[in-house]
């Protein structure tokens, strides 16, 4: 495995730091990593915006309490699964509370429109996106800005190679080359992330 960049601790290292003495910096980093994933998941499982924020805080709180005892161990289960359990439990807890309150009022407890997908599937999909976002973020920092721009125009704007070549003042072949290099790097980054956290 390639060595991690010094400015971005690997998730394993991050979890090790959280374990024991969770300093504020590590925690902030942790929130930055996973809040989008958690929020997106909650939204798709049918929680409203307020519920999502509440759940978000609950999940953080729960992780904060448990992580000092949580030993990160690749052989015993992936972080992905662990996080999902925490998130799922918290979502259920919120629903239960909400349910009791709503029962009094007699209205449905589901506020948002729940996805038809199974929660597992949603989590799985969001987890993939999570990996992509992290990898792209890292790619953005790794690549020279012109190189990243070619990738960005492909991925965000879905421009054709010819359009990109025109915009960046380079050849179509070059665009293909840069783009495929960037994609290859992206895959490498994703593999590494998956190896680390599942």
């Amino acid at each position: 495995m390639e060595p991690a960049r010094p400015d971005e601790p690997t998730r394993t290292a991050l979890l090790r730091r959280l374990h024991g003495d969770p300093d504020a910096e590590a925690w902030n980093e942790f929130c930055t990593r996973y809040s989008e994933l958690v929020t997106n998941y909650c939204r798709r499982t049918g929680l409203g915006a307020d519920d999502c924020q509440e759940l978000f805080q609950e999940v953080f709180f729960a992780l904060f309490q448990r992580l000092p005892r949580f030993r990160y161990d690749r052989s015993r289960g992936r972080f992905r699964a662990y996080l999902w359990r925490v998130v799922h439990n918290q979502a259920m807890a919120i629903r239960r509370r909400r349910g009791r309150r709503r029962e009094v009022g007699g209205t449905a407890w589901v506020e948002g429109q729940a996805s038809a997908d199974h929660p597992d599937a949603i989590w799985e999909e969001e987890w993939r996106k999570h990996h992509l976002r992290r990898a792209v973020e890292r790619l953005r920092r790794e690549l020279p800005s012109r190189h990243y721009e070619v990738f960005r125009l492909s991925a965000y704007e879905r421009l054709t190679a010819a359009e990109i070549a025109q915009r960046c003042g380079t050849s179509v072949q070059m665009v293909y080359k840069l783009r495929s290099q960037a994609m290859e790097r992206l895959r490498t980054l994703v593999r590494r992330q998956i190896e680390e956290e599942g």
């Binding site: 809040s35 989008e36 999909e125 976002r133 704007e157």
Partner: protein, 820 residues
């Protein structure tokens, strides 16, 4: 509840099972990515198109496009260190705005979030044509702070455009007006209690007409600091958020104490860059390097702007506009390290910039170069040392880079140049400046360290060895001045070892020969002061032969001729000490032609006075020893020469010391001729000068020695004249003598001279009916430094002392009474 999403709940997310298997090291490597099935990669991601499609949904959908309430993000405009900027559409009215989303998070209702709200309220109230309008702000769905701002299609000044570049900075007046408008906008915010704290080119946007608009007031850094998200710019800047290159010293200091004047400083950096086309400090400098570079700038700024422009060809002779000199003063005042000395507001800076445009007088106080230098030394007792460290650090870095860099020669020469500047400063600046003594040691020691370090990576490099030898030579001089001849000799000898071999290396031979000559001369000086005249002569002679070779090789080299002059001078005086009149005459006869030649080659040279002074004094001493009567005339001529120099440069140490010394000699000559009143007048003036010099710098031992001798002489003359006048009292002499260790630091030569003066003074006192006082003075001197004399001399002095004490005993009653 299920144990986790391990299963294969839907075909779409089938990668879960693949992930569950440990694929082995090889599978994770990029080069294997083209294999059809990659166990670590989610299904379908081997294909570029599939991956791109999923990327777009991952990046486009959830994260940002619906993240900012009431807005639709259209496309990303740019990414900065701490924020992403999007072009967005306001859903309510379809207006095009810029949305800035910061790359950090804060919990709603946290202290940071509440602070953000308050900041936003202030920002929304800033309405000025030169300030980017902030419409609203808050937290995104993912709790990132965002700001909705006016969209400016003109983009930001990525870097400050140097004057003359096409665009808004094409002409001087236009560029200055652009800058003044930036100042106006910043001042508007200041008046409403908002400090920008991160002024830099990328925060100055241009509207469609090319007018500047300042963005990002306070907020970005404020938030980043609140959340504790700090950018690791460099190892020594942990905790600092923002752009180092434009930050004021106080903003990067430990206290982080920032006010409106910190923005004034950043504006000064912008102005400097606007005028010179280069940043004040390199953008990639570390915090330490830049602080030190700024300190150096503070001292040399005024001339720097012009020099840089000329060097960079930004000041062509045929330019339609000449850069007014006044701008230097404006830049200097804006960049003052001490914010009390800066413009106190952005408005004042803008006013002066416009005054330059209109040709009106400035508010900025311009400091003369000398005042600046003196102020610098007084104000920054440690800055000098730090400055040296900075220069040395940069130079050391540059030299280390040498091995790697292709432009080896350029960097290398630059590094050595830098160190050369450092050394020149150590010598010229601080050796000569009154009160500068204290800094010399630190400067030299850090320079020496740097050379040692560099020599570890470039062992044997002749230029570095030469640099080290020069440091050692200067350090030796310092030790000697501090009264530690043993340490001085050690340093000289180390220098000598290198120099003797370096003179054979063609690349550095010339400089090495000069350093060799100087070192030999200095060793000779220490030897002479120790009384080892034979050793002194040996070293002087070797120096002389080196100087003769140098002068023969370069007959127009003033430096070589100057060194040759002083070698002859030293040998002549050494001969006088040995009462070798013929030898001294031969040596002194060389002096005047050399002085004339130097004067002819370089009439502007500041140190020429010293040559003519030395000629006169040398002959005066010779005349005296040769019994040709007192040398009053020659001494008076020497006095006139040095007095002119003192009057033109009152801040220099050396001419003042020389003046005191020649006045003392003149007084002695006059006293011998019986002109006691004139002698006393001259001796008293010498004393006054020496007291001033000692007050400015108590560490110079030659001042202390001469002052004591002069004290004794003044006392003697007062006694001879029968006046106990004002300037010296016997109490002050006795107190000075009684000071612990005040005499023990004197060189052997000075001790002998002092004993002579004490003896003369004591005898004069005795003859004037004051043998008791004479005895006390002589006893005090003998007690401290009697061991410096030969045994015979000491016995004689003891006999004199015994005689004085006996005479004092006879009239004890009377004298006691007279003292009261």
């Amino acid at each position: 509840m299920k144990g986790g999403p391990r299963g294969r709940p839907s075909p779409k997310t089938g990668s879960g099972a693949g992930v569950g298997r440990e694929g082995g090291e090889g599978a994770s490597r990029a080069r294997d990515a083209m294999s059809t099935s990659d166990p670590l990669l989610p299904e379908g991601w081997e294909d570029d198109e599939a991956l791109l499609a999923e990327l777009q949904s991952a990046l486009g959908e959830g994260i940002l496009r619906d993240a900012v309430p009431g807005h639709r993000l259209v496309r990303e405009l740019g990414v900065g260190g701490q924020a992403r900027v999007f072009l967005a559409e306001r859903l309510a009215d379809g207006a095009v705005v810029a949305v800035k989303v910061l790359e950090l998070r804060m919990l709603p209702n946290s202290r940071a979030a509440r602070r953000l709200e308050r900041e936003l309220e202030v920002l929304q109230r800033l309405e000025h044509p030169g300030i980017v309008r902030v419409h609203e702000g808050g937290l995104t769905r993912c709790w990132r702070p965002y700001l909705v701002e006016e969209y400016l299609p003109g983009g930001a000044l990525k870097r400050v455009l140097p004057l003359g570049a096409p665009g808004p900075c094409a002409d001087l007046d236009g560029a200055l007006e652009l800058f003044a408008r930036i100042c106006d906008a910043v001042d508007h915010a200041h008046k409403r209690g908002v400090v920008h704290r991160d002024l830099k080119p990328s925060n100055v946007l241009l509207d469609a007409e090319g007018s500047p608009k300042v963005a990002d007031f306070g907020i970005a850094r404020e938030i980043a600091e609140l959340v504790g998200a700090v950018e690791p710019v460099a190892a020594d800047t942990v905790g600092f958020v923002g752009s180092l290159a434009y930050a004021s010293p106080e903003a990067t200091g430990a206290a982080r104490d920032v006010d409106v004047r910190s923005d004034v400083f950043s504006l000064g950096v912008l102005l400097f860059e606007l005028l010179t086309g280069i940043p004040v400090v390199p953008h990639d400098a570390t915090l330490r390097e830049r602080v030190l570079a700024l300190e150096r700038l503070d001292d040399h700024l005024p001339s720097r702007v012009h020099r840089l422009r000329r060097r960079r060809g930004l000041l062509p002779a045929a330019a339609p506009h000449r850069l007014p000199r006044e701008l230097d003063a404006v830049v200097a005042e804006a960049l003052a390290l001490d914010r009390e000395e800066r413009y106190q507001s952005a408005a004042a800076l803008a006013a002066d910039v416009r005054a330059v445009v209109d040709g009106r007088p400035l508010l900025a106080r311009r400091l003369g170069p000398m005042r600046r230098a003196v102020r610098f030394v007084r104000r920054h007792p440690t800055a000098v040392a730090s400055l040296a460290l900075a220069m040395v650090a940069t130079a050391a870095f540059a030299v280390q880079e040498v091995g790697r860099a292709r432009e080896r020669r350029a960097n290398y020469a630059w590094a050595l140049d830098t160190l050369g500047v450092l050394l020149d400063q150590a010598v010229a600046g601080f050796e000569r400046l009154v009160g500068g003594e204290a800094y010399r040691g630190e400067l030299l020691r850090s320079a020496l360290d740097a050379f040692e370090t560099m020599l570890q990576t470039h062992p044997g490099d002749p230029a570095l060895r030469l640099g080290r030898a020069r440091c050692l030579l200067l350090l030796g001089v310092l030790h000697r001045d501090e009264g530690d001849p043993a340490a001085a000799l050690t340093a000289y000898r180390r220098a000598l070892d290198d120099l003797r071999t370096l003179v054979a290396v063609p690349k550095v031979a010339r400089d090495a020969r000069r350093a060799l000559s100087l070192t030999l001369v200095r060793i000779g000086d220490v030897r002479k002061e120790d009384g080892d005249l034979a050793a002194a002569e040996r070293h002087y002679r070797e120096a002389l032969s080196v100087d003769q070779e140098r002068a023969a090789a370069a007959p127009e080299d003033v430096t070589a001729l100057d060194d040759l002059f002083w070698s002859h001078h030293r040998l002549g005086h050494l001969a006088l000490m040995q009462e070798d009149l013929e030898g001294a005459r031969r040596a002194f006869a060389r002096l005047e032609p050399l002085a004339d030649r130097i004067q002819a080659l370089d009439p502007e040279r500041a140190a020429n006075w010293n040559l003519f002074f030395a000629v006169q004094r040398s002959w005066a001493a010779w005349d005296r020893l040769a019994g040709r009567g007192p040398a009053r005339e020659r001494l008076a001529r020497a006095e006139a020469a040095v007095r002119r120099r003192v009057e033109t440069s009152p801040g220099l140490w050396f001419p003042r010391f020389q003046l005191a010394s020649v006045l003392g000699a003149l007084a002695a000559a006059e006293a011998e001729e019986g002109l006691l009143a004139e002698a006393l007048r001259h001796a008293a003036e010498a004393r006054r000068i020496l007291v001033e010099l000692e007050g400015a710098d108590p560490s110079k031992q030659e001042v202390a020695a001469l002052l004591l001798r002069t004290d004794l002489e003044v006392l003697r003359l007062q006694v001879l004249l029968g006046t106990e006048a004002t300037s010296v009292t016997r109490e002050s002499v006795l107190a000075r003598l009684a000071e612990d260790g005040s005499l023990s630091r004197l060189s052997a030569l000075d001790r002998v001279a002092l004993l002579g003066a004490a003896e003369r003074c004591a005898l004069a006192l005795a003859d004037a009916g004051r043998p008791g006082l004479g005895a006390r003075i002589l006893a005090a001197v003998l007690e401290d430094i009697g061991d410096a004399t030969t045994e015979g001399d000491e016995a004689r002095l003891r006999a004199v002392l015994g005689d004085l004490e006996r005479r004092a005993g006879l009239q004890a009653g009377g004298e006691e009474g007279g003292n009261r």
